[in-house]
């Protein structure tokens, strides 16, 4: 019984490693080998030519910069909007009910239903297909809000009210009490939320595809590379894209139990 369980668990883990292994393998194999039939399971020749091609392609360099910029700005905007609201939600049940409902609704809305009107609005504002991704940044912030709000609200709830009250009695201003007493106590949750939000933006595909048609970040670039038959180049881009994602998920593994990864509360 126990042996069977171990074998099943190992088989499962093995199967779940296959996609990762295949993409890294294609990234370090010459493209002509990736086109061969039958495809090889392990690299016949090791090469760095795909990664050199990535650095040589101007559009890919720009895509990398755009993805990183939009993700970093999304982290900043999301945390700035969410921090005060999450604190309020943790302290005020009435505000909490409203914020919880609205952010759950925002979390559930289909991207396409919102991307089409946003595209039209952004065209009028000059933010559509913006070279610095301003429109995409504003949109990713909307997508990311629940992923920061729910874990931060939980963290603020865990800070005893008495600590904040004691700081106020000692003469601290409300903002001073927040910055010097509350914020340090939620720092782990804040770091986790920042990483998660970065990842949400870094991985996001649907809005990026619709809102950035020529100034493309990495996900739509990878889509076109894969669709138009560049297995080596696409796999090199994929490897660059997945590195931070895998690192963040492994770093956050203990914090990811429950619904945090799915952007839901509790």
């Amino acid at each position: 019984m126990r042996r069977t369980l171990v074998v099943v668990a190992l088989a499962l883990a093995g199967a779940d490693l296959v996609p990762l292994v295949l993409v890294v393998k294609q990234a370090v194999t010459p493209e002509r080998e990736s086109f061969a039939w039958p495809p090889t399971w392990l690299p016949g020749t090791l090469t760095a030519e795909n990664f050199r091609a990535v650095t040589a392609a101007v559009e890919l360099g720009r895509g990398f910069a755009l993805s990183a910029t939009v993700a970093a700005l999304t982290v900043a905007a999301t945390l700035a909007l969410v921090l005060p609201a999450a604190w309020l939600a943790a302290r005020r049940p009435r505000a909490d009910r409203r914020l919880d409902t609205v952010l759950t609704a925002a979390r559930l809305l289909p991207a396409i239903a919102l991307a089409v009107p946003l595209a039209t609005i952004f065209v009028a504002l000059g933010l559509y297909n913006h070279p610095a991704g301003i429109g995409l940044w504003l949109t990713h912030t909307l997508v990311a809000l629940p992923f920061a709000f729910f874990p931060l609200r939980a963290a603020f709830r865990a800070v005893p009210l008495e600590l904040e009250e004691a700081a106020l009695l000692d003469g601290a201003s409300p903002i001073g009490a927040f910055v010097r007493v509350t914020l340090p106590l939620v720092r782990p949750a804040l770091g986790a939320a920042a990483l998660l939000v970065f990842l949400v933006s870094w991985d996001e595909f649907a809005y990026a595809l619709l809102l950035q048609v020529t100034h493309r970040p990495l996900p739509p670039l990878l889509y076109y590379l894969a669709a138009f038959g560049h297995p080596g180049l696409a796999s090199a881009v994929a490897t660059i894209m997945l590195a931070p994602a895998v690192a963040v998920v492994i770093l956050l593994e203990p914090a990811l139990r429950g619904g945090v990864l799915a952007g839901s509360g509790r």
């Binding site: 668990a9 039958p38 604190w87 309020l88 946003l118 909307l142 996900p219 889509y223 590379l225």
Partner: protein
Amino acid sequence: MRDRRALLAAPLAGYLVLLLAYPTVFAVKLAFTDTVAGRFPSLASFRVLATDPLFRRALVGNVVLPVCTVALELATGLAMALLLAAPLPARRLLRAIVVLPFALPEIVFLAIMRWVFTSRGYANAALAELGLAPVDWLVPGRPLTYAVVVAVDAWHTTPIVFLMLLAALAAIPDEIGEAARLDGAGPVQRLVHVTLPLLRPALAGALLLRGVDALRIFATPLVLAGVEGAPVLSTYAYHQWSDYGDDGAAAAAGVVLAVATVVLSLPLLRRRAEAVR
């Protein structure tokens, strides 16, 4: 004091009005505008949908794909959680590995799956090594194409269900299973009569969350099968918008999807409101 504190949510509220409420209203207006004649209100875009066979296929696909995907990932997610809750060697490492498919960015995972399921891809190479004939996995419109889309989407998102159920399993005190064991219950009886009833809230939560998520399935059918291979409402709207430049029809399809999502997510929102109260 009371009113001033509520101002803390003001930036977020203002942002949500501009980026969520306004575009939603705009989407409804766009859907009911005749984009050729510029008339509002008009049902012209919905008439386009009603007469388009691809829209009907997308509607059916938007039921079939989510139902099958969620059923598959609840079953596998539960099995994985039960398996990896057991005291196995290297359990932490195994848990991290089975979350990997979801850790990969969706588009990376789908690009790999494209190479796996093309005619000269890894799936057919594996069949060839077993001495079997190659299979055309992704012929547009065939049941096998839908099955591949379901399997790939479930593979990518099962770790979410797994993590939710694993957390719920960890919250069940060991004493309960122990007591059942002392009362003479076997492993299957303990699973059916003790563990599963205790997991019910978590299973219902996972079903609602993933169910509503699955309704907006977009990238998996698009990347694997294109806009006509296994169409859903999102790929249909994208097709209208990017290939025909028909904002009105795209918005109308988006509104149909949004309304379906809202209706189906009401139980989720009500559940949350009760939990918060």
